[in-house]
């Protein structure tokens, strides 16, 4: 069972460990994945450096272009500033872009082309700028033409004016157009402005100049046409470059978007993955927990089934043990009842005159029955010990007395076999111990009788010594040693087993049930001791046992002799109720011998009827009787009014069973004590005298209640006892009345004197003296008053508290004296 439990525990622990590992795995995985996703999101939330750079590059480019255009228009070099700046910064930015997309080959390719086109763009811009710088010739030319115009104004103003203006007009016009379209087609516009570039100021003569000019103009026209061509070319180139650049940007953006999409997809994938793992783990854990639950439920069910089976087995075992006990007690009852007759009558028979042969025979009968009773007791003890129902009766006892008694009991047997029987009691053994003397005696009798039984010559010794002792407890060792047949070493361990004796034929040779040592061992264990055997075959045996006792103080002797010294008063009326005729006859024999009046009835109902009609002092009530058993009869007697005080009559239950249960039932029914059959004459006399004495004590306790009830209509005294004692002698009764009046009135005077002198001792003494005769005329009220006075003054050492009681007592005495005087006069007449 324990191993199974362990396996189960291991299994549970294993499953739980797996579950814990999986849950921990889930935790770690979820944490890691989530933090990865979070960092991704964080990164994506950051403004995209690449696209920002691309934008910057774009704006730089447009800045540079604008700068160049503005410069073309204004010719102010400060407008070139953005161009230079852009030129310098754009490189850095492009480099930065390279570094950002170091791993992406597609991007790198785009960037390469972007870089190339940006360079181209700048070359174009530079070319434009350089074109612009060539225009300084034109400025000169213009200067010259201005001068020329001035001079022409002197000469033929109107004639030359027109071509000049016409040549200029398109220039201006183109300037205006360039202004208008500067953003869209800056290069074209600039080119339109540029045609009048080449000029040489010939100042010689107007004609030559004009010629020159014309030539120049022609040249210029040619040049400007070429320029225009170039500009057109440039602008076409520029457009192409710009288109490419834009394409690059678009490509870059496209790439960026793609990268983004890839990243998102990755993150999604990751998240999905994590979800999947978590799902898997969760399912695994759930499965595990499910399995765990099933395992636990199955285990619990099994355990429940086991415990049910165990409970069932236990109740069955208890029932069986009850059956066994009741069987044994029934059997012992059945055996004891006839044994009682055999034992009792042989005891009685021995006291009658017999011839020697008869005497011997009767003695054998008595001994055999004694032996049989012993065996029955053994069996009963054994069954009680087995059922754990044997209780120790702890009381004060003198261990020396017990040992000596056992030796005394064994002396005759030992003497017969010619064996020495020695005792050695250590002088430091405490005088009085607390324990169960009867059980100690039983153990000792068992062991010593065994020793004597198995010893044919030599000696048996009983040693008794304290081996461990402090102020309150003592471990006493008893050692029984013999020089007998011994026990073979192979049997030593089994001699304490039930029904086992060293050899099979021992029962035949030496008798006994084979229970003795088992009971002895169990009794020793029950008293907290140990027992050990040491034996050598043919040389002898030594049995040692120890019992732990409490040490009792030596003061206040509980005298076990007390019971022996009490004796049964004659003059009693005893009712004997028993259905077995020979038991009744035995009782009759004993009671007749004592000279005690008695009546026999054969069942409880007859007993009750008898008690309803006649006064008795004691009832000896057999427990098992037909019609109405002893218990029922006792209950009936206690619950119904009987003749005189029979309702409270002491009832001694007589039973063949020694079961504690029946004993308890007897006491519950209202019996005062129990006597087990078979009993010895002495036991009966002890029980009866104990009962009578007990009864007397209890009577004193309850008497007040009864007094209060009867006081109203009874005179408070009863002379019947005196009549009875004196055999109805009137003279004696008169004398008694006279004496009562005399002693009580004298006593009253003495009491009063004592009260006056506050001499409590005297008052107590006098109260005590007067109270005794009250009992005999049944003057209960006065008796109780006097008793109270005595008790109180003895307790208080003072007479101060009894004034009221004294007055009551005086009144009662006076009342009684008055009544008794009347009675006296009546008797006289």
């Amino acid at each position: 069972m324990a191993r199974k439990g362990l396996v189960f525990e291991l299994r549970i622990i294993f499953f739980i460990l797996i579950a814990v590992v999986i849950v921990a795995g889930i935790g770690v995985l979820a944490y890691r994945s989530l933090s990865a996703i979070v960092s991704n999101i964080k990164e994506e939330l950051k403004p995209d450096q690449k696209s920002a750079l691309i934008k910057q590059v774009q704006s730089d480019l447009s800045d540079a272009e604008n700068g160049v255009q503005t410069y073309t228009i204004t010719q102010e070099s400060e407008y070139l500033e953005p161009f230079y700046q852009a030129a310098s910064s754009i490189d850095n930015k492009v480099n930065h872009l390279y570094s950002l997309s170091a791993q992406d080959t597609a991007e790198l390719a785009v960037l390469d082309s972007l870089n190339y086109f940006i360079e181209q763009k700048f070359i174009i811009l530079r070319d434009e700028l350089s074109l612009q710088n060539n225009n300084s010739i034109e400025l000169e030319l213009e200067d010259i033409s201005l001068k020329l115009q001035k001079t022409e104004q002197y000469n033929e103003l109107p004639a030359n004016n027109i071509p000049a203006t016409t040549t200029k007009a398109p220039k201006r016009k183109s300037n205006i157009i360039s202004r208008l379209f500067s953003k869209k087609k800056p290069v074209t516009v600039q080119e339109t402005i540029e045609p009048p570039t080449v000029a040489t100021p010939p100042v010689h003569s107007v004609k030559s100049i004009r010629k020159e000019v014309d030539r120049l103009q022609e040249l210029q026209a040619k040049q400007s046409y070429a320029l225009m061509e170039k500009q057109l070319e440039l602008s076409q180139k520029d457009k192409a470059v710009m288109d490419r650049i834009r394409l690059c940007f678009a490509q870059l953006e496209e790439l960026e978007k793609k990268a983004m999409a890839v990243k998102t997809a990755l993150a999604e994938k990751q998240a999905r993955e994590v979800n999947r793992w978590i799902m898997t783990f969760c399912i695994a854990v759930s499965l595990l927990l499910f399995v765990l639950g099933i395992v636990i439920i199955r285990y619990t069910r099994k355990i429940n089934a086991y415990s049910k089976a165990l409970k069932k087995a236990k109740t069955e075992a208890e029932r069986l043990s009850k059956v066994k006990e009741s069987f044994i007690s029934t059997m012992s009852h059945e055996i004891r009842t006839p044994m009682n007759a055999i034992f009792g009558f042989s005891e009685q028979l021995l006291e009658t005159p017999l011839n020697d042969a008869q005497k011997e025979q009767v003695e054998i009968i008595k001994k055999s029955s004694d032996h049989l009773v012993g065996i029955i007791n053994d069996i009963l003890d054994y069954s009680k010990l087995g059922a754990g129902k044997l209780e120790l009766n702890i009381e004060r006892f003198k261990p020396r007395d017990i040992v000596n008694e056992v030796i005394r009991m064994m002396k005759p047997l030992a003497g017969k076999k010619n064996i020495d029987l020695n005792t050695d009691i250590a002088p430091d053994l405490p005088q009085v111990l607390l324990g169960d003397p009867m059980r100690l005696k039983q153990i000792l009798i068992n062991l010593v009788s065994n020793a004597v039984k198995f010893t044919d010559k030599g000696e048996v010794s009983l040693k008794c010594l304290p081996i461990l002792e402090n102020d309150t407890i003592v471990l006493v060792q008893f050692m029984i040693k013999d020089t007998g047949i011994g026990i073979p070493s192979s049997k030593i361990t089994s001699i304490f087993n039930e029904f086992e004796q060293a050899e099979g034929d021992i029962t035949r040779r030496y008798g006994g049930t084979g229970l003795g040592l088992t009971i002895t061992q169990k009794l020793v264990t029950l008293q907290g001791g140990t027992i050990e055997v040491d034996s050598e075959e043919g040389k002898g045996t030594m049995i040692k046992f120890t019992i732990l006792y409490k040490i009792a103080p030596v003061i206040d002797e509980p005298s076990p002799e007390k019971n022996e010294k009490y004796s049964v008063p004659t003059d009693l009326a005893i009712l004997v109720a028993d259905d077995e005729e020979y038991n009744r006859m035995l009782m009759t024999a004993i009671l007749n011998k004592w000279g005690v009046i008695h009546k026999e009835v054969s069942n409880g109902e007859e007993a009750v009827r008898e008690l309803e009609n006649r006064k008795y002092d004691v009832v000896l009530m057999d427990v098992q009787m037909p019609v109405m058993n002893g218990l029922q009869a006792t209950r009936y007697i206690r619950e119904h009014p009987m003749k005189s005080s029979n309702q409270k009559i002491p009832i001694l239950g007589v039973m063949a069973s020694v079961s504690e249960e029946i004993r308890r039932q007897c006491m519950e029914a209202g019996m005062n004590d129990c006597l087990n059959k078979p009993f010895k004459e002495k036991e009966l006399s002890e029980k009866i005298s104990d009962l009578l004495n007990k009864d007397f004590m209890e009577e004193n306790k309850t008497i007040m209640d009864e007094e209060n009830k009867t006081n109203e209509n009874s005179p408070g005294y009863d002379l019947s006892e005196i009549y009875k004692v004196s055999d109805n002698s009137k003279d004696f009764v008169k004398e008694m009345i006279r004496l009562f009046i005399k002693t009580t009135s004298e006593g009253l005077v003495a009491l009063k004197r004592g009260m006056k002198n506050n001499s409590w001792e005297y008052v107590a003494y006098q109260a005590h003296k007067i109270s005794a005769p009250c009992k005999h005329i049944a003057a209960e009220k006065l008796y109780q008053l006097l008793k109270k006075i005595e008790e109180r003054v003895r307790n208080d050492y003072s007479t101060l508290q009894v004034g009221g009681l004294m007055e009551e007592a005086e009144a009662e005495i006076n009342r009684l004296i008055q009544l008794l005087e009347v009675e006296y006069a009546k008797i006289q007449s």
Partner: protein
Amino acid sequence: MKEKKNIKILVMEDNEMYNSLLTKKIELYTKSLSVDSEYTFEIFSYTSLAECMKNLGEDIDIIFLDYYLVRNVTALDILSRIKEKCKDCKVFIISRSRDTEIIHKAFEHGVDDFIFKGKYGLAHSCYLIKRAIADR
């Protein structure tokens, strides 16, 4: 004809009434007992301790002795003096008290039995006479 053995019984009880009662009871009982037996009985009854001690003979067989004799003197106090005088006598203490301590003390002092003055006191006394005779 065999000579009958004379049994001498002494009653020392200072309460006159109880003394009379007990004496009467014993008288009647011994009378019935002496019929057909080898014994005759003689009863001495005293209410005064001094008188009792003065007349106490060696040949008394049974003594019934009240426990509280006179103030502060109990039966146990004079028990040794009684036993000195008549060594083989049985001494029975009579008392109303049921104090177990007193009873134990009495037995320790060597009294032969203890009688309670009560319902069964007189009957008990008779039984003790019978037993004392049987023990002889």
